[in-house]
Every structure is written in C-alpha cells, then in structure tokens.
C-alpha cells in the first residue's frame, strides 16, 4: 500500500470541516512549507489518517475516527485555511 495524497481524504476533511479542503492552504510548523492539502502525502494504513509535509515529511495532521467521532490533531500545521480565506 503506497502513500496517497490529500485528495484521498477530501471526503473525510469535508465531513470534519464542513467545506471543501483539498484546495485549503496549509503551512508546515516544522519547515514553513506552504501548499494545498491535495499535495500533501497521506497514509491510511494505520489506525487513522496521517498527513505529512511533502517537503520535510514531518507529520502535519492525524485524524482518528471511531464511529461518528473524529479526533483531529493539527499540531503539525502552523495554519490551515480554506481556499480564498486568509490564514
């Protein structure tokens, strides 16, 4: 199972944030790289979804879901803003 990209969790993120998020712009807290969620590396093989920075490979976001509850860890993101909104 290879890594995917942020497109693969577009539905999950839309469910959580209520808006389209693959075009949202994130900034990595570790290296400062900025880019759309669609271009991040996403791993679904673990118990949750892990999003990593495509530049420095550090963890940006982890989502663990249990029934209808999602636990969202955004500690790797300096900012995350839907397209058209300021960070």
């Amino acid at each position: 199972m290879d890594d995917l990209d942020g497109n693969a969790i577009g539905g999950l993120l839309m469910e959580i944030f209520g808006v389209e998020m693959t075009t949202a712009i994130g900034t990595c807290v570790h290296c400062g790289a900025t880019g759309p969620v669609a271009e991040t590396a996403v791993y679904l093989r673990g118990p949750g979804a892990v999003m990593r920075c495509p530049v420095c490979t550090q963890v940006l976001m982890v989502v663990v879901s249990r029934q209808d509850m999602h636990c969202v860890d955004l500690q790797g993101l300096e900012s995350l803003a839907p397209a058209g909104e300021a960070a």
Binding site: G10, G11, D68, V72
Partner: protein, 248 residues
C-alpha cells in the same frame, strides 16, 4: 493548533445502480441513480461505503467517470486483495443500492473555463477515469480547448474506455504507451512514461498548458517531476495519487 472533535456535515445517501458495464477483464463502470445529488465538476470524487452484516464498514474514494450533468458513474478496478472493489466489480447488479457521499474535491478539477489553455492529461492505468469526465465535459460544452492525453497501460487489453478514446473529435489527441505487452505491429510508444517521452508528447512549455496527472503514486511522482523539469510551473501540474489501494 489544538486537536478537536466535531460531527460531520457531508451526508451519506443511498444511490441505486442502473447499469454495470465491463470495460476490461478487471474494470467495470457502474452507473448510479442519485436522488439527492448537488451536481459535480469534472475530476471530482465520491466516497463509497459498504457495511457488512456484522456492522463492519469500509470506505473508499473513487473518481467520478461521467461529465457534469450526466448520471453519476464510477469506474472501478478490481484489486485482488481489496475489501471493496471485488464487491463493486463482481457482485453489484442493476437495482442494487449503494451508500455514497459527494461530490468531493476542488483541486483536481477542470471547470471548462480555461478556454485558451491547452490541457495535458497524463494517466497511469485506472488514473484515466477522471479524464473521461474531463473529455466528456469538454465535448458537452462544445469547448475547443486542445487536449493531449498520454495514457500508460500494461497492454491494449488493459486500456479502459478504448472505444470512446479512439472516437475523440478534433482537438483531442490520445497517445498510448503500452508498458508490458504490445500487439504485433504496434507502432505506438512502449514502456513507462519518462522525461524523454514527455518531451516528445507533452505540449511545449511556451504553450502554458495546464497538466493533470493521475495514477499510482510512483507514476505520478515520475511524471510530475519530469514535467517540472521540462519547465512546466509546479502550480500548473495538478496531481492525484491513488497508491495501490482501492481508489479509482
């Protein structure tokens, strides 16, 4: 940013299968009737959810194969060790119901408005699925946007939508490369897409083409970095990777 937990707003709905069409030995197109569908853009996805009798659920994301305005269709490749794709490609029949949600995504979409800009579409295997939506959308719009589709498949028998791709009208060039097996007398490309092939096939950078690359992750990495090496601006190269799991 602090962690949080919130309830979702994207809702699941029940769609009804109206037809199934075998595209290749392992790929099937499923057309759906969706009573509550907001409409989609070319290149968007939807999520499919299967629930077992014991309540176990599996979800997968699939590209939408039909154009905006057409009934929703998925094209699914059967993965031998898949949890979802064997059911979708072997068991599902017209009249069956399927839980879906969507449309999803706003990054890997073509809105049809970029009329002066040529499109460079590069597909690996079932990565061609969203491009069927793009090509149909272009055709339904009466768009004259020039399109080149470079499509990498293992063999001619593995080419999905071959009849439809071979019937494309003016302004659309479909270029195949066959990686594993070529028929006798094959004069087209052979082998995997690389920088040399893209240099020959892709629009020159001065055309300011918009590139979309969809396929397995290593394929997308190779193609996208080659296009950037050929002076395509990185932000003009849209990528979608489906790894080896049951996506697309």
């Amino acid at each position: 940013m602090a962690g949080t937990a919130v309830r979702g707003r994207l809702t699941w709905q029940v769609a009804t299968v109206t037809s199934v069409v075998d595209e290749t030995a392992s790929v099937r197109t499923i057309e759906l009737q969706t009573p509550d569908w907001a409409g989609h853009q070319a290149g968007q996805h939807l999520d499919v959810r299967l629930t077992a009798e014991d309540g176990y659920r599996a979800e997968r994301s699939y590209s939408i194969a039909s154009a905006p305005g057409e009934p929703v269709a998925l094209t699914v490749e059967r993965l031998e060790d898949g949890e979802v794709s064997p059911y979708l490609t072997e068991e599902l029949r017209p009249g069956d119901e399927l839980e879906i949600r969507g449309p999803i995504g706003g990054y890997f979409v073509w809105d049809g408005d970029d009329s002066a800009t040529p499109l460079m579409l590069v597909a690996g295997g079932s990565g061609v699925v969203p491009f069927r939506s793009v090509l149909r959308h272009r055709s339904l719009l009466g768009s004259t946007v020039p399109v080149r589709l470079l499509y990498s498949a293992r063999s001619l028998a593995d080419v999905i939508y071959r009849d439809e791709l071979d019937r494309q009208g003016a302004g659309v060039e479909v270029i195949y490369t066959l990686t594993r097996q070529q028929p006798a007398g094959w004069t087209g490309h052979r082998g995997r897409v690389d920088k040399t092939m893209l240099e020959e096939v892709a629009w020159p950078p001065d055309q300011e083409a918009l590139a979309y690359v969809c396929g397995p992750t290593p394929f997308v990495e190779t193609v996208a970095s080659s296009l950037v090496n050929l002076s395509y601006p990185a932000q003009r190269v849209k990528t979608e990777r489906f790894g080896g799991i049951g996506g697309n």
